[in-house]
């Protein structure tokens, strides 16, 4: 086991990349601490899988180095890296039994038969396949096959890291929850570094201690689920995490005042006039709606999602969502007030830190 460092790493599928857009992964420096449970979150096509494949060695990065601990493994093949990876769609060896499938990575490493047997039994119990070990893998359902793939990923105890590439896509929701819990338990027990790629924020936030958000080939923010929720470093994080995502409005910011559509909003920090496109962002959870307030709203509709209601409205031509507490009536002419300490300023999509008020 080792810390994994990506040093000035970039990757392009073009032979001779020139423009920024030619890169599937833009240059990044990133460290995955040994024993961390990471989620790699981002929309489809943002480079998550490429990054994962670079770590496991399935793809050789066109620029930069990959280090396991102090060792440079950039040019080492996958087999030499001793790493486990579970793919989005189940990969099983059809002609083998479930037992042989699970034992395959261990046998390839030359482990003794008794040890293999013990370990396979343990993993089979973990994925709930203990009763089907003698069966051929061929006739199994997609989610049973995916459980085997997961099992094969977890069967080696000495791996440097376990990479999961959206592994629960084909699994039904109830089993999803159970398997995710299993993965967490496994992480606590063995302390493997785990990197879990997903585009499902619930999955990411429940699995990981630290969430890495990627957007357009870049890591835009790394942090705890709470960091990502409360202080998104990039408008993409604000929009992608949370349901509904962060409200963003074009605004003119000066000092501790932002002006949105002619109405003033108070901020809790002082900002120098930011360059580029300036926006303020506030999560729906921090928008208070009442008969009196800073900003006039035009209500579109109110959605009841069970635990709370979501007010869909328009503010100065831009959509605004607000979470309404259960039972609170919507006033006839509602006005919104943003919580000053939760209202953040973005310049060209990146968060700007304010000075003391």
């Amino acid at each position: 086991m080792a810390r994994i460092t990506l040093s000035r790493l970039a990757h392009s599928y073009h032979a001779d990349p020139k423009a920024d857009a030619d890169f599937a992964l833009k240059e990044m420096d990133h460290t995955w601490e040994d024993g961390g449970a990471y989620a790699l979150l981002g929309a489809s096509g943002c480079g998550k899988t490429t990054l994962l494949n670079i770590i496991s060695g399935l793809v050789r990065p066109s620029h930069g180095r990959v280090l396991f601990g102090e060792a440079d493994v950039t040019d080492q093949p996958t087999a030499a890296r001793n790493i486990a990876q579970v793919f989005q769609f189940p990969v099983v060896y059809d002609t083998m039994t479930v037992r042989d499938n699970l034992a395959f990575p261990l046998r390839n490493r030359g482990m003794g038969a008794a040890q293999v047997r013990a370990r396979v039994d343990q993993v089979a119990a973990m994925i709930g396949m203990a009763d089907r070990l003698g069966r051929k893998a061929r006739g199994l359902t997609a989610d049973a096959k995916q459980k085997i793939s997961l099992g094969r990923g977890m069967v080696r105890e000495d791996v440097n890291a376990i990479l999961f590439d959206e592994p629960l896509t084909v699994i039904d929701p109830q089993m999803k929850w159970a398997l995710r819990t299993q993965l967490k338990a496994l992480h606590r027990e063995f302390g493997h570094t785990m990197i879990y790629v997903t585009h499902d924020q619930t999955e990411a936030l429940t699995f990981a201690d630290r969430v890495v958000v990627m957007h357009d080939g870049r890591v835009v923010q790394t942090g705890t689920p709470q960091d990502l929720f409360e202080t998104p470093a990039h408008t993409f994080v604000g929009y992608f995490i949370g349901s509904p995502g962060m409200n963003l409005f074009d605004a003119a910011v000066q000092g501790n005042r932002a002006v949105v559509g002619g109405h003033a909003v108070t901020l809790d920090a002082h900002y120098a006039p930011p360059r580029g496109r300036t926006q303020i962002g506030v999560r729906p959870e921090y928008v208070a709606v009442a008969a009196t307030g800073d900003l006039p709203l035009t209500v579109t509709r109110v959605e009841d999602v069970g635990r709370h209601r979501i007010l869909r409205a328009a503010l100065a031509g831009a959509p605004l969502n607000a979470i309404l507490p259960e039972g609170a009536p919507v006033p006839a002419e509602p006005r919104a007030t943003f919580r000053p300490d939760r209202t953040l300023v973005y310049s060209d999509d990146w968060r700007v830190e304010g000075g003391a008020a």
Partner: protein, 291 residues
């Protein structure tokens, strides 16, 4: 839920049935007709019962030809199937050379059978043939006209040259359809080259291999044109296969009855062996019942 079957759909099959009737069933029945009768010319036929069948089974000449056919097919399958897989595994997967190889491999398949025979007939000649003369110069005692073993080697080499491409192309198509994820998973699982072949490629090739084995068996078992052109069945009867003998009997000696009985049995043997191949290979590792 009960459904009333609508039998009118059978009418749609009628044109096809009529076509098959005229192209296959009626000619086959003519052969059946000949096989149970005898004639002394003038279109006068006499009932002969199963006499021709009994004679064919008892005939030493037939048994020897059958044995030669079995041996030939066995050699052909034993060489072409592994060789075809090997070639397919080593062909470039994409780019210019992939297309180049595909065209190159397809070339022998496009050459008419009798031309293939002629090519090899000349190729192997000791006086003017490139192969035969070169071997002669090198001091190898090679002469397919007089030596039975040399004749066999020539015919087998010719068939391998002609048909291995087919197996290779089928396997190549099969290999191309294996998703990359399988190879990636194998790399993650630290599988060696042999394990990848044994546990990923071979199982995925099973379908095309079944077709390849069936095609190559049927075709090699029915081989006629190429050995007829190269050796004419000789030296002696060393390369006289069932088909060569059959043609001799039917159009040379004009023994229509025995030839008809013979060809029916020939047909049934091919049908039977193909069925056995098919059944064995599809059941080879079928899902066992859960215990």
């Amino acid at each position: 839920m009960d459904r009333t079957p609508n039998n009118r759909a059978w009418f749609l099959v009628l044109p096809m049935l009529a076509l098959v009737l005229f192209s296959a069933v009626i000619p086959l029945m003519t052969v059946v007709n000949y096989s149970v009768q005898d004639t002394f010319g003038d279109n006068e036929f006499f009932w002969a019962g199963l006499a021709w069948f009994e004679e064919t089974i008892a005939s030493e000449r037939m048994r020897e030809a059958l044995w030669r056919n079995v041996l030939f097919s066995a050699i052909i399958l034993a060489i072409q199937i592994p060789l075809g897989i090997f070639v397919a595994l080593n062909m470039p997967k994409r780019g210019f050379w992939a297309s180049f190889c595909l065209v190159l491999m397809a070339l022998p398949l496009l050459i008419p059978f009798n031309v293939v025979g002629t090519i090899w007939q000349i190729f192997g000649r000791v006086d003017i043939g490139l192969l035969g003369h070169a071997l002669d110069v090198l001091g190898v005692d090679y002469n397919y006209v007089s030596d039975p073993l040399d004749a066999w080697i020539t015919i087998v080499a010719m068939d391998v040259w002609h048909w291995t491409s087919l197996v290779a192309l089928l396997c190549y198509a099969g290999l191309q359809s294996i998703p990359q994820a399988y190879y990636q998973a194998a790399r993650i699982d630290q599988a060696g080259r042999w394990a990848v072949f044994r546990h990923i490629e071979l199982p995925k090739l099973k379908g095309v291999l079944l077709i390849a084995v069936l095609l190559r068996f049927m075709d090699s078992f029915m081989i006629y044109t190429e050995p007829f052109v190269v050796t004419g069945g000789g030296p002696g009867n060393a390369t006289t296969f069932l088909s060569i003998d059959l043609v001799k009997m039917a159009t040379g000696q004009f023994d229509l009855g025995p030839a008809a009985a013979f060809s029916l049995m020939y047909f049934l043997v091919i049908l039977l062996v193909s069925w056995v191949f098919y059944t064995v290979m599809t059941n080879l590792d079928r899902e066992e019942e859960p215990r």
